[in-house]
């Protein structure tokens, strides 16, 4: 079973994952930051309370000039632990009995985190001077006061946790919204894909029209796909239509030939005829039948040639034949026709080459091109066949001195059943398969065929075929005058 992948799901999951990662990083950063801020606030409040305790240390107004703690006006939280001592270790006031903390005698406040009972406390140790009767000549009595003040640090943690919780809830909420919005957006963003698919679904063998929807064409990511689809379908449609035209043309051609044979025989049997009439009628019918046979033969040849070569003879090594011998055969074959119209066929060879075509097809190729040239040659003109071999490729050109070829015909002259001149009837035109067969033979071995107008007038057919040079490569020129 193939695994199906949803782009929507992937995108949403990716985005949510990234969002989660950044949220975790953000919460981490916020925790550190919040901890610091809260600690600063906490410490400031410890210092402030300790300072106010310090301020509450009063002169007891006795001879010993001792000090006392006056708690009036000092607000200390209920769970706070503190102890105020003077320099002799006399406790002026305390609550919850905080531990004794060793501190060096310096003015700067010292903070300590200590466990009291089961609670974590943060203590501040503050040392300060208290001078009793500073206005006296001896400068008064100095009392160095040590204040240890602490409050449970869980408040601190509580604040930080509150902040984290707020951000976590906000993140979860945002992720939920993101998931919905993303899913909706991605689906909306992918709607051109669905439209493209719907459009493509309408294609059937009878309706090849395909126009990519505008939404797909406007989507940058879909443009290549839409264009490729359109192009591929246009190509398919063209080839499909070519096939259809071929079938229809072939049917037309065969029906006409069959109609001739049938009518010839039916005419003969319309009434009783003399032996001589029967003889003539049969001869004509046979001629008509031969034409039908040749049409079928050509169609079968074309069908055979258009089949991929692998399926025919993959096991056999490619057959080679001499191009020169083949051309000479073709010229010999067409000699009566050339002589009839006193056309000279001249051959110009530069050596001989082997072409990877079996001799039967090679002869078909050469004689079809030659016959085409002869058909388009005026009486008394010359047809020139030239062969030029060059590094694995041989170029065969057949040039006539006829009226040349129009641009319109050039494009379609190799299509099956195409007859150049629409005013030409079947009588003179043959079946219109000759050049198609040539094209099929050339392309089967990876060669090419084209027709053009020669600058000096007349049409020139050029066939390029892969070739191997044969032993003798001496320049030869021979001429065959058909008189």
């Amino acid at each position: 079973m193939t695994k199906s992948v949803s782009i929507t799901r992937r995108l949403v999951v990716t985005v949510l994952f990234l969002e989660l990662l950044s949220a975790v990083a953000l919460i981490g950063a916020i925790t550190v930051h919040e901890w610091r801020v809260q600690l600063k606030v906490f410490d400031a409040s410890l210092v402030a309370t300790a300072e106010s305790l310090m301020g509450a240390v009063q002169d007891t107004e006795d001879e010993a000039d001792t000090v006392m703690l006056d708690m009036r006006g000092v607000r200390v939280s209920k769970d706070a632990a503190f102890r105020v001592e003077d320099e002799r270790g006399k406790v002026l006031g305390s609550a919850l009995d905080p531990p004794r903390l060793e501190t060096e005698a310096s003015g700067t406040p010292v903070f300590r985190n200590i466990e009291v009972g089961s609670q974590g406390y943060r203590f501040l140790v503050l040392k300060g001077l208290r001078i009793v009767d500073p206005g006296q000549p001896n400068g008064g009595v100095q009392h160095s006061i040590t204040i240890v003040y602490g409050t449970p640090s869980r408040h601190l943690w509580h604040e930080v946790f509150e902040a984290i919780r707020f951000f976590a809830i906000a993140t979860a909420f945002l992720m939920g919204i993101t998931a919905f919005v993303m899913a909706w957006l991605v689906r909306k963003g992918l709607s051109p894909v669905h439209e493209l698919a719907r459009e493509a679904e309408r294609i059937s063998s009878s309706d090849w029209q395909f126009h990519a929807p505008i939404s797909a064409k406007e989507t940058v990511e879909l443009q290549p796909l839409a264009a490729a689809l359109e192009a591929a379908l246009a190509r398919l449609q063209r080839s499909f239509e070519q096939q259809r035209r071929f079938t229809s043309d072939a049917a037309h051609e065969l029906k006409t030939d069959v109609a001739i044979v049938k009518s010839s025989l039916q005419l003969l049997s319309m009434r009783k005829r003399t032996l001589e009439e029967y003889g003539q009628g049969l001869a004509l019918s046979l001629e008509d039948f031969t034409r039908l046979e040749s049409t079928v033969q050509k169609m079968l040849t074309l069908a055979r040639l258009e089949q991929p070569p692998e399926s025919c003879n993959s096991s056999r090594a490619p057959q080679y034949c001499s191009l020169r011998d083949t051309i000479e055969d073709a010229v010999h074959q067409s000699k009566p026709f050339a002589e009839l119209r006193s056309i000279e066929v001249r051959m110009e060879f530069t050596g001989d080459v082997k072409v990877p075509i079996d001799s039967r097809d090679a002869l078909l190729l050469c004689s079809n091109i030659l016959l085409n040239a002869l058909q388009h040659s005026p009486e008394g003109s010359t047809v020139i066949i030239a062969v030029h071999a060059d590094e694995g490729i041989v170029q065969l050109t057949v040039r006539d001195q006829g009226e040349g070829i129009s641009e319109e015909d050039r494009a379609s002259v190799f299509e099956p059943f195409y007859r150049g001149d629409p005013s030409r009837s079947r009588k003179s035109g043959g079946t219109g398969l000759g050049l198609s067969i040539c094209k099929a033979i050339s392309e089967r071995v990876g060669g090419s065929i084209e027709i053009a107008n020669h600058p000096a007038g007349g049409a020139i057919v050029t066939v390029r075929l892969p070739a191997e040079v044969m032993a003798s490569a001496s320049t030869l020129s021979s001429s065959l005058k058909a008189e």
């Binding site: 037309h252 049938k262 010839s264 005419l267 009434r271 034409r291 009588k427």
Partner: protein
């Protein structure tokens, strides 16, 4: 009766022409659309057999041009295409009948004859004018039950006249409809044939059927026996 065949396929045309002539029809052949169109518009044909795929001008256009000129000659289309749409569009364009290739020669002849008959307002192959009977299939003529032996030309003249009883038919019309371009045109040939025909139609003192109207032509009388 004279038929025009427009068909570019030489051998097929030869066969159809031969068959049509053997059944007593005069036939002209055009090998391309333009010649066919030109001949058809002379309005001298009793039926036209038209191929569709023609060089120069296709059959459909030949037909359309003919109908545009208000010529109502019956047209039978020969086609190698068989799709229904083309048949429908052809009939809508003014064709009277069609036959797809390869067709049966006998069927083609029968259809052409039927087309000619219908165009002349007759629906059976046996034509009857008073006591004269003419069978267009067997090409036999009888009067008062007695069969008459006519030459092919005499038969054709009588057939043409019997298709148009009581109408005055000029010598020129007879020439146009009975002979194709392969024949020499001589009006006195017609006169000779008419006089032979008159003689042969005269069965034991019956009324003469063919009237001669000086400088106008001939007329087949109906009900002349009464």
């Amino acid at each position: 009766m004279r038929v025009l065949l427009v068909e570019d396929e030489q051998r097929l045309a030869e066969n159809i022409v031969a068959a049509l002539r053997e059944t007593g029809l005069a036939v002209d052949h055009a090998a391309d659309g333009e010649t066919g169109s030109h001949l058809a518009e002379q309005d001298i044909y009793d039926a036209i057999v038209l191929d569709l795929m023609l060089p120069g001008k296709n059959g459909q256009r030949v037909l359309q041009d003919l109908r545009r000129r208000k010529l109502h000659t019956p047209v039978l289309i020969l086609t190698a295409q068989e799709n229904k749409e083309s048949v429908v569009s052809l009939l809508n364009a003014g064709a009277d009948d069609y036959l797809s290739k390869p067709f049966d020669l006998g069927e083609l002849l029968a259809r052409i004859k039927a087309l000619i008959r219908r165009a002349k307002g007759v629906s059976t192959p046996v034509l009857v004018v008073s006591d004269l009977e003419l069978n267009t299939v067997q090409q036999t003529v009888s009067r008062r039950g007695r069969s008459l032996d006519l030459s092919p030309t005499e038969y054709r003249i009588l057939e043409y006249l019997m298709h148009r009883p009581r109408a005055v038919v000029s010598q020129r019309e007879l020439l146009e409809h009975l002979y194709d371009f392969d024949w020499e045109h001589h009006s006195n040939v017609i006169e000779a044939h008419i006089s032979n025909l008159r003689r042969k139609l005269n069965v034991n003192g019956s009324e003469p059927l063919i009237e001669t109207l000086r400088h106008r032509g001939y007329r087949l009388r109906e009900g002349g026996a009464q």
